[in-house]
């Protein structure tokens, strides 16, 4: 882990999970990582001329073009004779699962040597908490209101991990800023792989989730502990799961700490619990089958 500070002086909100995800990954990767960040929270807070906050080579890409710009940078650096470097992308959930999914799919398909990190704060937080396809069921956002009979997002969170894994990617994993050692280990694992890798790190946004900035780490831990955000890894197509959820009964208390879920009915909460259970069962089944 690099002792220096690769990402500092930025303007992120207090308790920003995304800023932590960027900082820890760059510390794990060291100075020969090139960071590519699309339009979004981290580019908005880190690249305000003349206040430029990356110690590494870093660049903002277009919103849709994170992965393809990574491809170009890697090719350009190779053309200049550079070796032993890694291009790492940091895109939010909207930049990954919505507008950037085509470029991401293309880069994985090409087998480009890169680490793509999705810091998943479950919505378009930079523009004021609108819904993305990674916003979970039930969450109130500014485009899925909870008022006048409406009860927040009625759509399920897109399963990006398996979508990415279906490409046959060498390495894909979920992580959480609540478990930083696990996250850093996964980043290091990705760095050792030649070819594409994908890490989706849950990065709470206290501003958008309606929680105190001091609760970021707790929330990120609880999401894992109650089984809502299972830690998983695909290696060479084989799925392995992290430890079993420590306490599935934490789920309701976990959601209750976030204002975005304050409106949920008992029925909504049951649906979220059932969804979690189904997802976990399916993943356990797949992981077990692949162990045989």
């Amino acid at each position: 882990m690099d002792g220096g500070e690769p990402f500092m002086g930025h303007r992120a909100c207090a308790g920003c999970g995304g800023a932590l995800a960027v900082r820890i990954a760059l510390k794990a990767l060291g100075r020969r990582a090139v960071a590519v960040l699309p339009a979004g929270c981290m580019s908005a807070v880190g690249f305000n001329f003349p206040q430029l906050c990356f110690s590494n080579n870093a660049i903002i890409s277009t919103f849709a073009g994170t992965a393809s710009m990574m491809t170009g940078i890697a090719a350009g650096l190779r053309a200049r004779g550079e070796r032993d470097f890694k291009v790492v992308g940091f895109a939010g959930d909207g930049g990954t699962a919505d507008i950037g999914i085509q470029a991401l799919s293309g880069a994985i398909d090409r087998g480009d040597d890169m680490i793509y990190i999705c810091y998943d704060n479950e919505g378009y937080m930079n523009t004021g908490t609108q819904r993305s396809s990674l916003t979970p069921y039930g969450a109130r956002t500014t485009t899925t209101p909870a008022a006048g009979g409406a009860r927040g997002n009625r759509l399920e969170k897109k399963n990006m991990l398996e979508i990415v894994a279906a490409h046959g990617i060498p390495y894909a994993a979920t992580a959480s800023v609540g478990y930083l050692r696990d996250y850093a280990r996964k980043v290091e694992k990705a760095a050792a792989i030649e070819g594409p890798s994908y890490i989706q790190v849950l990065a709470p946004c206290p501003t958008g989730w309606g929680a105190d900035p001091s609760e970021t780490i707790d929330l990120a831990r609880e999401a894992v502990d109650c089984g809502l955000w299972p830690l998983a890894e695909f290696e060479g197509g084989r799925l392995s799961l992290g430890a079993e959820p420590r306490d599935p009964s934490l789920l309701r208390a976990h959601l209750a700490r976030q204002a975005r879920f304050a409106h949920l009915t008992d029925g909504d909460l049951r649906r979220i619990e059932e969804g979690r259970d189904r997802r976990l069962d399916r993943m356990r089944g797949r992981a077990a089958k692949e162990e045989c």
């Binding site: 690249f47 430029l52 080579n57 660049i59 277009t62 710009m69 650096l77 200049r80 470029a103």
Partner: protein, 402 residues
Amino acid sequence: MREGLRARGHIHGGGEVTRAFVSGNEALALGVRLAAPKVVCAYPITPQTTVVERLSEMVADGSLNAEFIYAESEHSAMSCAIGASAAGARAFTATSSQGLLYMAECLPYAAGGRFPIVMMNANRSVALPWNIYGDQRDSISQLDCGWIQAYAQDAQEALDLALMSYRIAERPDVSTPFMINLDGFSLTHACEAVDVPSPEQARGFLPPYEPEDAMDFGRPRNMGFSAGPEHNAFFKYREHLGILRARDAAAEAEEEFGRAFGRRYTGLVEEYMCGDADFVLITLGSVAGACRDAADRMRGEGVRAGVLRIRYMRPFPSAEIAEAVSGAEAVAVLEKDVSFGGTGTVFANVNSALYSAGARIPSSNYIGGLGGAPVSEGDACEIFRRMASGATGVRFIGMGGA
């Protein structure tokens, strides 16, 4: 390179220059190979396809030492080219029409980042209605995106522009991306004999790209940043000055090109019998040939006709146009685009140039060639006759006035 293409060529001039009978696209690809980009990324679209097909073959057979990247869209093709350029590598891509519009977000991005990427655009109609044939509405719609825009009239010029474009774009005080436009089918797919310089000659003309401000592990850089109201105009002003300097850079490149290869180019415009012309037809692209034939015919009928071909739409040759038509009684602009609800865009630019120069010459506008409709020598003669009769205003060829 395809066998047939090789077999058709023959060597003359001491084995240094190859003569090849090739399409405009193939000529462009030969020129790109001589320019030796390190990263070629593209997405196929008619009528650009044969450019990237030839380049992929050149990479495969080792005659072009570059990475060929299969972009999954035009937006990604340009995004990838920007990344390569940010890393300090010479980059090339090619597109057309819907593809150009799909990547449109990335065009001002490349220009604002001062990345000297070269892109070939096969001029093609824009949907709706769908149409794969040539007009210039695609590139003309992108005049404001900060790219140098050149329009070739034949295959030789396409090849030569591929070489000269990098030299112009990469000059440090220019640092501006460069779009080479070829008329779809009438130029991209028509075969002509071209002279192909040797790689040694090309290297002498265009040294490798070694930028000082690319990504660097010894001195890391934060690029593509935000600049608020207090700094934004600073960058935009510099960008504007950069593209304006392409005028001088083109002159310098053409001077050197003439010395190296014996072919002379004439800067942002090319005059044909404009010196004593009473009536000057201003146009761009491959239709200039028919216009020159028409001028010849009109001269035979006693009308002092001339043709001014715009070679570069950006930077716009305002002074050159005003100078070239200073003795004319009237000018007309023939173009393959229209700004709906306005006039032809080239016409608007020309009028602005004339007005700014204090020239008060009657001007008229002819919109033709849309969706690949042929524009004949006869059509151009008709424009000269209408000019001579004092006609002004905007007219769609074969349709009516607007």
